[in-house]
Symmetry: C2
Subunit: 190 residues, 2 copies
């Protein structure tokens, strides 16, 4: 018998992603989110959810573009800072010492220090209540060579992405590989 | 200088979630997804993406309800099997030996053996191409007492959720706690 925890967002795992955008004044900004995920394979799309009052909200609406930057565990402190402070009040690139890189394909900056970035064109927005969901078509994924394995795939053990646990409010690293998809289950499928 | 990996869905981390539904015949079914995430805090909502050809697609459309069940690492084999085989051809509860529990609040089954479940009422569907996104309002979260910490929060180290790495196709466990949100960043915020 499970215990009811109520109507809330206590799902796990949620990602720790940093969204990049240019504001109306052209200033590069970034914000940390955990409400998001891949939402379509073809066209490749990612969904991120933001509150209307966020500085990034107007920025993405205006430029119709954003980046999703994936921080490594080593930058947990910076990623947390980026989620604590508004870009309306602070220059978060200056405060962290990070470098904003103009994207090749979209009108949004990426974070040079983070090893993986998705360049996204805004496809649609869906107002859900406190949050608005932004659906972005992923026009390109760019990765530091240092996180690629010998097979050309992103090596999660090198990327070291983080997950966020709503409720406890803790960030966690990713642990050991458990097995391969479409393979582990064969023992049951027969 | 980052390397272009093309227009694709190589984001990390993505969750390993098992979606529960009843089909037209009333048979309990489950499928594993990685394309999903929390999308709104108020009302609390989760988004999951399914291809139209999935057996669960019609089931959720019909009953306007689904559950999101979060497997522990110890059930990686079963979670993978559930993503490999169609509910149109197999009784996945019978094959895994799992138990379908009728939800209290929505017309969809949950998986007793998985420690955490979100009971969701379908709010809207968004056709994005290969995938359709289902937005579900989370009416309740239910957890096994065994995954709760002394503070009442879900203890991620007990839940042991998994993440999926697109590209390599590997499942990973969640590792060590890295720090606390809205706390780590204070060193930079000052």
């Amino acid at each position: 018998m499970k215990k009811s925890l109520g109507a809330n967002t206590l799902a796990q795992p949620t990602p720790v992603w940093v969204v990049g955008s240019y504001d109306a004044a052209g200033k590069a900004n970034m914000m940390t989110i955990a409400w998001g995920g891949i939402c379509c394979s073809k066209p490749p799309c990612v969904a991120i959810s933001l509150r209307k009052e966020r500085h990034s909200y107007a920025a993405i609406m205006e430029r119709k573009a954003f980046t999703v930057n994936i921080p490594s565990q080593m930058h947990a402190q910076e990623a947390d800072y980026v989620g604590m402070v508004s870009g309306a009040k602070a220059d978060k690139f200056a405060a962290t010492g990070f470098t904003a890189i103009k994207s090749e394909l979209v009108d949004a900056p990426s974070v040079q220090e983070f090893p993986l970035v998705l360049e996204c064109r805004l496809l649609q927005t869906i107002d859900l209540g406190a949050h608005t969901q932004f659906i972005g078509e992923i026009l390109d994924v760019k990765a530091d060579e240092s996180i690629l394995g010998p097979d050309g795939h992103i090596d999660t053990a090198k990327l070291k992405p983080m997950v966020y646990a709503p409720g406890s409010g803790l960030y966690y690293g990713v642990g050991e590989a458990v097995g391969k998809a479409y393979s582990l289950g064969k023992a049951i499928a027969g």
